[in-house]
């Protein structure tokens, strides 16, 4: 957001927005996007926000030259195992791609491979996390429909996040993943398992030695990552808890509405209003189930993704630290040894470059990640709030129509046969 002053609380005005005004401003988007003359009316300020949200989308939209979808999960049975294959469909205008459309089938393991290679080649870039291998709580089966659908959506998001990343989307591995019919041959090439092993060993060795001093900005980043991880996990837990409480609430509502109907059975005049209330309670119960569904499909996955992101960030910070530690270790060795100075010096220089590259990569990616995080979580929260408003609006309508039916009745009674 550009640095415009915003009145502290214009929520009172917000609720009176005229729909037509929105549309008008949208069509004149260019003038406002320049950040030129700021209009004074609160409603246009709101539109400013809406616009900027769309601006970010537009940034992606206008430069988006690759569209990827993950769908059509299919079960594959072999002699050894059973697994799910997903269809990955790519449409692109990028010149490095020979064709404009690709369709391949990939399994979860393939995604793991891709992510592993990306992390390996760009150790201090923030690579979006994949959905977890399996869900521990709830003992969900691997091939349960809900699980597969949740995973499919997460895999879809993963590929799209990669495609939006200015550096990662240019990775040859990414291209191979999207285009090669057979991935197995590509998987075997190049540094793979062994080098990863090597890195881990080195990482452990270096972390044992410890870090001299972390540059201030990375200290701040580290602290932020710790805090962010805690907060996002908390929000995730609170959300799960809310869903649990809502589900129990719905269960009780289901017991509650029949009691009105039972009572109606022994009443005459009261039967109709009693049944009316029963019906209202039932419909509100359904709306609550709807709301729970929405939360589970929108907010929970978004939060969960960023819980995983927090772990990714921690790993990135560790890798950066290790790169620095490696350089410092060699640098120390250089200072103490008298022989092989020239060769060592070359190594140290190379490591110093590596440190600088790593730091710059992280710094650059950091703000991109923050902005992306803000965008994603903001939109998930907004969607949830909108759904809650919709939920209450629907319940309101249900009860109001009951009231209306009750207000009409006495008039009909008074009129006797004359029902107007």
């Amino acid at each position: 957001m550009s640095g415009q002053t915003v009145p502290a609380d214009f929520s009172g005005h917000m609720l009176d927005l005229d729909e037509d005004e929105d549309l008008e401003v949208f069509s004149k988007n260019t003038s406002l996007a320049d950040g030129s003359s700021m209009p004074n009316s609160p409603s246009s300020l709101v539109n400013q926000y809406r616009l900027e949200e769309d601006e970010e989308d537009q940034q992606y939209a206008s430069t988006k030259d690759i569209f990827i979808t993950v769908d059509n999960p299919e079960s594959h049975v072999t002699a050894i195992e059973t697994f799910i294959m997903y269809r990955v469909l790519t449409k692109t205008t990028r010149s490095e791609f020979d064709s404009s459309e690709y369709e391949v089938r990939r399994r979860y393991q393939d995604f793991l491979w891709l992510r592993g290679r990306l992390e390996e080649n760009h150790p201090t870039l923030i690579v979006h996390p994949l959905p977890e291998k399996f869900v521990m709580k709830g003992m969900v089966e691997r091939f349960n429909d809900d699980f597969i659908e949740t995973r499919r959506k997460a895999l879809h998001r993963f590929l799209n996040k990669i495609s939006e990343h200015p550096i990662l989307s240019c990775s040859p591995h990414f291209k191979v993943f999207l285009t090669a019919q057979e991935l197995t041959s590509h998987k075997k090439q190049g540094p793979g398992f062994l080098s990863r092993m090597g890195e881990t060993v080195r990482a452990v060795a270096n972390s044992v030695r410890g870090l001299r001093s972390r540059p201030e900005e990375f200290v701040v980043m580290q602290e932020y990552v710790e805090d962010f991880s805690n907060k996002v996990s908390s929000v995730d837990k609170v959300t799960q808890r809310i869903i649990k409480e809502q589900r129990e609430y719905v269960d009780e509502l289901k017991q509650y509405s029949p009691t009105y109907i039972q009572w109606a059975g022994s009443e005459e005049m009261l039967a109709e209003p009693l049944k009316g209330v029963a019906s209202c309670v039932e419909r509100c119960g359904k709306e609550t189930e709807d709301q729970i569904q929405h939360m589970s499909e929108v907010l929970v996955p978004a939060l969960h993704e960023y819980v995983l992101c927090a772990e990714t960030l921690k790993a990135v910070m560790r890798r950066r630290d290790n790169i620095q530690a490696e350089f410092e270790a060699k640098n120390e060795a250089l200072a103490s040894r008298k022989v092989d100075q020239e060769a060592l010096q070359e190594e140290v220089d190379a490591l110093a470059d590596r440190v600088e590259l790593a730091n710059n990569a992280l710094k650059g990616d950091w703000s991109r990640w923050q902005s992306s995080m803000r965008h994603d979580l903001r939109s998930a929260f907004i969607s949830t709030a909108e759904k809650n408003v919709e939920y209450y609006e629907k319940c309101l309508a249900v009860w109001e129509s009951f009231l209306l039916s009750q207000r009409v009745e006495p008039m009909e009674q008074r009129d006797g046969e004359d029902v107007s």
Binding site: K231, P273, L396
Partner: protein
């Protein structure tokens, strides 16, 4: 000789005379207009008091201030201060017990519950809890208004004394001797099982009262559980408030939006307390009719009892007449102890027979009076009960319909609050 008299104790002449006396003592001169039309009544306040109880132990209890004002005085333009006196819940109970005995054909309005029932998790079950006391105050006022606006009950003198004489009231009510006149539970229960001919309308009412009690208590139980769950949902949102606030501290651009959204979540979590407190008033309205079911059943039980007593008196009369016939003709039709002893020890002397016959005639005359009185009592009870039941049904339909409408209004209010909170939260999220 009363060995041949079958059945349990029946109402003697003395009893019915005394009951009638109570009733006449109770009615005042103006019969047709209700007390409430002449007098403004309210239960204005509640206070805690301490004192020694019957076993000389210190106890804390609540007293309620009853204020009354004459309508005439108000109409004249004078604005006198209300008369007032303090009463405990137990005194209300005493008044009600009296009314039930004195007017057994009336569906006597119930008192608010003695102890908090259908309590959901966070609602206090403590009788001293201020919310409970407040709701009880309203319930006691409601009771007085209902009684004082009842065509029959409102003219009762004991009721008038209850409202106006703080100290001498208890003596006056005990003096009526109503407690002695109360039907024993055992007698009533026995009658329920042994009565043969009951009035259909009253029996239908009895079945209805069972259903009313069952349905309202199920509803109240389910409602309490729903309230409990809803409370949980709202309060967990308070956790959002806390976490958003903490999270906002580490964010730069998102901070303000998160912080203010958090405040709205706190407000949302806090709003449930008032919402559910208001819903307790709805529950109280339903509870009133749960307790009315018992009052209905009492009227039906009284019918069964009087009908049973009538049947017993009739049977007794029949058997006495049979005995007279046997004595007169010498033919023994039924087994009797006297008959056996006659057989074993020979017939009695003619003078003895004459004496017995005379006694029997007296008893038969008495018995016929009893049957006559009981028949009248029964018929009157049925007639009056029917009338009051119709009144009750009309009142019930009106009251409960209103209660359901109020419930809908409460739900609407809750929805509107929800819309507001989440719109506010959305605006905060937009600022993120």
């Amino acid at each position: 000789m009363a060995e041949d008299v079958k059945g349990g104790p029946v109402a003697t002449d003395d009893d019915s005379e005394q009951l009638a006396a109570i009733a006449s003592l109770s009615t005042s001169v103006e019969g047709s207009c209700t007390l409430l039309q002449r007098m403004e009544i309210c239960v204005a306040e509640a206070e805690k008091r301490s004192g020694k109880n019957a076993v000389n132990m210190q106890e804390t209890f609540t007293v309620y201030l009853i204020e009354t004002r004459s309508m005439d005085a108000m109409a004249d333009g004078r604005n006198p201060a209300p008369d007032s006196l303090w009463r405990r819940y137990s005194e209300f109970e005493l008044l009600r017990s009296y009314l039930i005995v004195a007017y057994p054909y009336i569906v006597v309005p119930p008192l608010p519950e003695k102890r908090a029932e259908f309590v959901w998790h966070k609602l206090s079950a403590d009788n001293m809890d201020p919310d409970f006391v407040e709701r009880r105050r309203i319930g006691l006022e409601n009771f007085l208004l209902r009684v004082a606006s009842h065509r029959v009950l409102s003219n009762d003198k004991i009721l008038y004394h209850f409202l106006t004489e703080e100290h001498s009231w208890k003596e006056v009510v005990y003096e009526t001797g109503f407690q002695a006149k109360a039907d024993s539970r055992l007698r009533a229960l026995s009658a329920t099982f042994r009565v043969r001919n009951t009035h259909k309308r009253l029996m239908d009412m009895k079945h209805y009262s069972d259903e009313l009690q069952s349905h309202t208590s199920q509803l109240l139980r389910a409602r309490a559980r729903v309230a409990d769950r809803l409370y949980g949902v709202f309060k967990v949102h308070g956790n959002y408030g806390r976490v958003f606030s903490e999270w906002s501290a580490i964010e730069r651009e998102m901070g303000d939006g998160l912080q203010s959204a958090g405040h709205h979540m706190d407000a949302y979590a806090a709003s449930i307390d008032d919402i559910l407190e208001e819903e307790e008033h709805y529950a109280d309205q339903l509870k009133e009719y749960l307790f009315y079911a018992e009052a209905l059943r009492a009227v039906c039980r009284k019918h069964e009892l009087t009908q049973f007593e009538l049947e017993m008196a009739s049977q007794d009369l029949v058997s006495k007449k049979q005995q007279r016939e046997e004595l007169a003709t010498g033919i023994v039709r039924t087994f009797s102890f006297k008959g056996m002893t006659n057989k074993l020890f020979g017939q009695e002397a003619p003078e003895q027979r004459e004496a017995r016959l005379k006694l029997l005639e007296e008893l038969i005359a008495e018995g016929e009076d009893t049957v006559k009185d009981k028949t009248v009592e029964c018929e009157e009870h049925i007639e009056r009960a029917w009338e009051d039941m119709e009144r009750f049904e009309e009142q019930r339909d009106k009251d409960l319909r209103e209660a359901l409408i109020n419930y809908a209004v409460m739900q609407i209010s809750m929805c509107k609050k929800g819309i507001q909170v989440w719109n506010n939260a959305k605006e905060c999220f937009l600022k993120m």
